[in-house]
């Protein structure tokens, strides 16, 4: 299955909405897209996972990688997700404490 993304800039944040399955087959493409955004200077990223049907450890690792890259370039990465089957994976791995999960894009782009 292909991964589809939509990118929009809101209040100084680049919001990337992701649709489809995020696994070892699709994560490399999203990784490249996020690297390209940071290289363009768009290092304040919001990753909206509301359209994700499936997430595995490769996808989680890719998100950690993107977070580190954004922070290295003076930015940050925030996640939007409320689906319990997805948020549960962040809780199991403890990543929810490293990358807070926000309920909406509005909440993610609020504040600095």
């Amino acid at each position: 299955m292909q991964l589809r993304t939509e990118v929009v800039d809101i209040s100084g944040w680049t919001v990337v909405s992701v649709y489809g399955e995020l696994d070892v087959a699709t994560a490399p493409d999203l990784r490249e897209q996020l690297i390209e955004l940071v290289n363009q200077g768009r290092s304040h990223l919001v990753l909206d996972l509301g359209g994700i049907d499936f997430l595995d450890s490769t996808g989680l690792g890719m998100i950690v990688s993107a977070l580190k890259r954004a922070r290295t370039h003076g930015g940050d990465l925030r996640l939007v997700c409320t689906e319990s089957r997805i948020t549960r994976l962040f809780e199991i791995t403890g990543l929810d404490r490293a990358v807070p999960l926000l309920p909406t894009v509005d909440a993610a782009v609020a504040g600095s």
Partner: protein
């Protein structure tokens, strides 16, 4: 007891198909299993298959990887069998605590902890030919 077996080339593009087959086979042959538990199993199977594919890539072998679902009245077991170079699951690096800033240094190593958390039993068997991972979830009493 019912057995459904699938053989795939060791390529990531087939992971989505594996999830579809596991969903259909276990969903129809083990009614009563919740959607959440089936989701857990599909994540664990994906993790094991990803490791199997990586093991094949390490030795430039194209597969196949065998995915075998064995369903009886009490449990569902999915075996993932590869012919790659085996690994020792007990030597997988332990990750720092989630509150430890060093935690973010680790982008990999999450697969086996997820398999262990999301299933009721995980067994690894290694031999000269490769690795077999057996993932079991218990069925609720009917």
């Amino acid at each position: 007891m019912a057995v459904v077996e699938l053989e795939i080339p060791a390529r990531p593009a087939y992971l989505s198909l594996v999830r579809l087959i596991v969903d259909a086979a276990v969903g129809s042959l083990a009614p009563g299993l919740s959607v959440a538990r089936l989701d857990d199993l599909k994540i664990a199977v994906t993790e094991a298959c990803s490791n199997a594919i990586e093991a094949h890539e390490a030795i430039l072998a194209d597969g196949p990887v065998v995915v075998r679902c064995v369903i009886d009245d009490h449990q569902v077991t999915v075996d993932i069998v590869d012919r790659g170079r085996g690994f020792d699951p007990d030597r997988v690096e332990t990750l720092p605590a989630a509150t430890d800033p060093r935690r973010l240094r680790h982008e990999s190593g999450l697969g086996i902890p997820l398999m262990r958390t999301l299933t009721d039993e995980v067994a690894f068997s290694l031999d000269a030919d490769g690795t077999k991972v057996s993932l079991t979830i218990y069925r609720p009493p009917s």
